[in-house]
Symmetry: C2
Subunit: 584 residues, 2 copies
Amino acid sequence: MYRTHHCGELNTKHIGTAVTLSGWVQKNRDKGSVIWIDLRDRYGITQLIFDEARTSETLMPLAKTLGREFVIQATGTVIERSSKNPNISTGDIEILVTDLKCLNQSKTPPFTIEDDTDGGDTLRMQYRYLDIRRNPIKNNLIFRHRIAQLVRNYLSEQHFIEVETPVLIKSTPEGARDFVVPSRMNPGQFYALPQSPQTFKQLLMVGGMDRYFQIVKCFRDEDLRADRQPEFTQIDCEMAFVEQEDILETFEGLTRHVIATVTGNDPGVFPRMTYDDAMKRFGNDKPDIRFGMAFGELNAVTQQKDFQVFNQSELVVGIAVPKANELTRKDIDQLTDWVKRPQIGASGMVYVRCLEDGSFKSSVDKFYDQDDFKAWAKITGASAGDLILVLSGDTQKVRPQMSALRMEMAERLGLRDPKVFAPLWVVDFPLLEWDEASERYHAMHHPFTAPKPEHMALLHTNPSAVNANAYDLVLNGNEIGGGSIRIHDKTTQSQMFDLLGFTPEEAKSQFGFLMNAFEFGAPPHGGIAFGLDRLVAILGGQETIREFIAFPKNNTGRDIMIDAPSAIDQNQLNELYLNLKTIE
Amino acid sequence: MYRTHHCGELNTKHIGTAVTLSGWVQKNRDKGSVIWIDLRDRYGITQLIFDEARTSETLMPLAKTLGREFVIQATGTVIERSSKNPNISTGDIEILVTDLKCLNQSKTPPFTIEDDTDGGDTLRMQYRYLDIRRNPIKNNLIFRHRIAQLVRNYLSEQHFIEVETPVLIKSTPEGARDFVVPSRMNPGQFYALPQSPQTFKQLLMVGGMDRYFQIVKCFRDEDLRADRQPEFTQIDCEMAFVEQEDILETFEGLTRHVIATVTGNDPGVFPRMTYDDAMKRFGNDKPDIRFGMAFGELNAVTQQKDFQVFNQSELVVGIAVPKANELTRKDIDQLTDWVKRPQIGASGMVYVRCLEDGSFKSSVDKFYDQDDFKAWAKITGASAGDLILVLSGDTQKVRPQMSALRMEMAERLGLRDPKVFAPLWVVDFPLLEWDEASERYHAMHHPFTAPKPEHMALLHTNPSAVNANAYDLVLNGNEIGGGSIRIHDKTTQSQMFDLLGFTPEEAKSQFGFLMNAFEFGAPPHGGIAFGLDRLVAILGGQETIREFIAFPKNNTGRDIMIDAPSAIDQNQLNELYLNLKTIE
């Protein structure tokens, strides 16, 4: 037993108690005749005091040698502090040390172990074990644990069973790229790591498990975009004998419970929006509805005049930025440059100032009159003092451009408050999307998603028009969950594979087990999966998932702390019947 | 909404209620004018009734077509049954069906969906989704979930934090063989799948996380012995600022809580036994102490006479089998054959019958007299009516032989009651074991285990004599957990790697990150890991872990349901810079 208490629990009630604490030296203030040491552990900081008058002679010299991050064990008596620190729970007391042991020394850490560290990202990743000593990272990991426990206990109470599905499974070229694992016992053959437990959870429904969940690692060998990880964690869920409404209710309940518990505020009933509406009103299938600035489509009120830019556009769309008339001409010019950057790609931007006197002033004054602008203001919902920003072009391009502009304006106006949580269901996703490059349909959600029953006939005649019982849960502009009602009969599943360009042989070799299963009494079923990393980050008021992962990888998929991946022995390769190709 | 109730909840209180149920047809008894269908879901079975007098004409023909495992939805009224079934919770009622829908058909399942199925192991694995519909498997998976939840909630209440450690890590040739994962983004390099999160949990302790746990998948590419799986689940735990006693207390608390909750009986304080004692008294480091038959070492009382077999043996050891004097001569001959089988390998067996009148009768009567046998009986603890069985030979060989015989006798006598739980700590394991084949020391637990402080000096002079603060938790003769106090300083860790035959370069390239971490204030720490699969199986009164895994692999590491592992595309190999070797 290295301690009787931890460093976060002692207060004036303990005065006079003999205690032993262990932890790390946060700070050593040596004033000659008095030494104060801030001792830190996971739970807090407690001040130790050594002074010539009261401390045994032998301890003072030892105390002086203790540097930052040394690990020590100190025994002493809790006494009242003369100069109290109201910022920490132990700030009223200190420990007059009577016995002291250095348990381990420390080299000077490469960055400060403080809330605001001086360490850059790379250094922090390389010494992640030191980074975890910092409160922000430590608290993020504890927060993550708390959310996972909340989810597990809530779902367990709702009779969901957590079932572990296998990690060594089968490679399926559909979807993202698989990580593969060569099998030594089955030469020339490979396992794959799951991109999700999708087929297994469906088989559990066929198996009558009824309500399944799992908090589970998933894997995607994708070129990593910013803040993507090759391994990530899903809250994976599935239910049998349900329709879409049952799933939405169940998991709205879960999400509400989590948000309410974390924030203390019940977010109430989640609004719902169709995919089409989301695209039309926000240019985006995961709109952030913490703020307004919904799109106003202006074709009808802009294409009657001589402004050819608008007349030739498929879509003219505007947003009313609240109170933004105060932007200067220079501000607006900069904003125009911002939307013209290659990342956004707009060809230009039109603005209309809504003046306090009810009149308008615009960059296209010579083409439109005050009545025109009045109509624009009505459609975009602009009031006096607002600034209407208008983009135009091909619908497929201008919507994401306007969406980016809307988010940028919200950011600049401080409307993206990380303490406000605005969940939203987006429903009625299209079943398929046409991919120009491969000249075939791709599954918008995944190949197991069921078409809406009323759209089944369209599957032959107009596949693009088929909607699915597929839904996303959006929180503050991030997709935190997505799911669908699944196909549960072999015929529809075969038809779907056919539409997606699988030959019957390919479908059979890759998903034969699932289609077989559908012939033995598969129940109607559906589910959802949440991205735990992102959910936790957003609930924690941040957007960088790496800060909520204990040992994340960098953007090339490397763990720079342990230096993985790395070369392996020729022996290992031989056992796996593999040769490395020469890399040119 | 496919149902208003599930198939396990309706009883006489619901009589007169209109309900809708969904599930699988367990049985269809068609008596012509009356049809009964047993409808099954995860929660139970409810009887549906259709009869000519009360059921609409259109339903009867449909009801007749419903075969085993068809998925149906039935609406009707709860009525009292004329012939009640006291064996099921819904046995007092049935549903008079007014509406019926067939949701999906089923081919005839390849084995019966009954508690005692007619399906063999291979067929059950191939159609695991049907096997899971059977109560024994379904209930095992639910039981597993319950245990995992118990563990998580208990440890969380004790301020343990579940931290997810990475799955894509680094290959280390020490220990068992790693599964490796080629990295596309880092050509020629490989990740490895963790055999355990050992180094990461130690880094979390260095990181101040203080109390960590994780229920986590681990991977070993070993030739599979019976009932081993290439992927398995650990309850992995670590604590900082602890000594062995703290760990034993904490995890005895956890295990007691789980056993008490599952069985309703508190198993009390767990006994402890040193490794040396366990080997001496039970020939085994994981003794089953649900029954006695401890070994009596008989050298002193057997080697004074002319029986050369004993005189030339390093160890003569006996057990007293209770009430086994009733065995016939033929029984004992068969037992002698049993110990002489190659799997056991004894050269012979001596017996002594302890007769009811206090005298003895033995196969070595001509070498020993009644006083000798009295001494043997005293040492083995034999009473009148018992049978003493004696083996002899080299200590290293005769102990496991006698251990096997002891277990066999216990099995035959019905002493291995799966409803009795006898936990036991085995402590003071040796740090190292000498491996004849490789002519070097191997770590008995793992290379991170700390020598006992009082044995540190022996590390140079007599490594074999060094004990470790290492411990196993044994339940009913199975190791369910094992752990140790870890090394937390670079010098000892280097010394240990040296003893294990690592060059300093190898140690640095494989474990440099850990040794670096030890230089930045590593706290004393230690931990334990439980095998969840086995723990759950034993608590469930069984020993086959496969029955507690949703989708297990067979003995060649194959998932025969999904047919994995399997060949992958040449494209995939190209992207990974790999070639398959020709397999000769």
